[in-house]
């Protein structure tokens, strides 16, 4: 089992349901081939740096997972066949420093997913008044964390 990251770019012309279906399709393929998905990062639709197949935009999504080497071959084969994927990029993380970064990314995005799930649960369980306040609080926390990260990055770049 090795640590991987798989970035895929989907056509922007698909509807929301179709993109979700494609992402789920990837997920299923990965899990079928013995991969354990650690985190999923949604980058959303963004401008491509250059047109691909005459398209200006693309829907970006990233999977972080551990998998045996044969899984990558199979997934890449399927991505190449499927027309909706206009670009993909799989990166192997091997060195300790790389793995540290991988773990950090996984924590970052896995925790976000957990938070969302928790919010949904609280919405179901508790009365709407309380949940609204909780929602606000959790959102604030997330935004604070994000701004902190951004400032760090800015510092790093400025320095």
């Amino acid at each position: 089992m090795r640590h991987y990251e798989l970035l895929t770019v989907l056509k922007p012309t698909l509807t929301e349901e179709e993109t979700r279906a494609k992402v789920n399709f990837l997920k299923e393929v990965l899990e079928k081939n013995g991969a354990q998905i650690a985190a999923f990062q949604e980058m959303g639709t963004r401008r491509l740096a250059y047109p691909i197949e005459k398209l200006e935009r693309g829907y970006y999504s990233v999977f972080y997972f551990t998998a045996p080497t044969t899984a990558i071959l199979e997934v890449e084969r399927l991505i190449r066949i499927t027309e909706e994927f206009i670009r993909f990029m799989s990166v192997k993380y091997e060195k300790t420093k790389e793995l540290a970064y991988w773990n950090r990314q996984v924590e970052k995005f896995a925790s976000k997913v957990e938070k969302e799930v928790k919010i949904e649960e609280t919405l179901k369980e508790e009365s709407p008044k309380e949940t609204t306040t909780q929602d606000l609080v959790s959102e604030e926390v997330v935004s604070v964390v994000e701004t902190e990260v951004e400032t760090e990055e800015v510092k790093a770049t400025q320095e």
């Binding site: 970035l7 770019v9 980058m43 963004r46 401008r47 491509l48 740096a49 250059y50 691909i52 693309g58 990233v62 670009r87 990029m89 990166v91 420093k97 790389e98 540290a100 970064y101 990314q105 990055e153 510092k155 790093a156 770049t157 320095e159």
Partner: protein
């Protein structure tokens, strides 16, 4: 006597920021090492150390393949503010 230096001494910005790993999805990090036309800047101009220059090369090439950074910016496809692409 040696002449006084006119400009500040060049140093590796990535060393100062203690970058251990560069993610090709974070294109802001690569800004120092790209020219206006999105060429990879040489080490003699940026002052990057060898280790970080090699990391920069790899990450820029990955980002290009993933369509996060353009391969070329020429007169045919002019972008008014080229570095806005990085700040998406």
């Amino acid at each position: 006597m040696a002449e006084k230096r006119k400009y500040a001494r060049k140093y590796c910005k990535y060393c100062e920021a203690k970058v251990e790993f560069m993610d090709y999805k974070e294109t802001k990090m690569l800004k120092h090492s790209l020219s206006e036309r999105y060429k990879i800047m040489p080490r003699r101009l940026t002052g990057n150390c060898k280790r970080h220059q090699e990391m920069v090369e790899l990450t820029i090439k990955r980002a290009r393949a993933a369509a996060l950074i353009p391969y070329v910016v020429n007169t045919k496809q002019v972008i008014a503010t080229p570095f806005d692409l990085l700040n998406q």
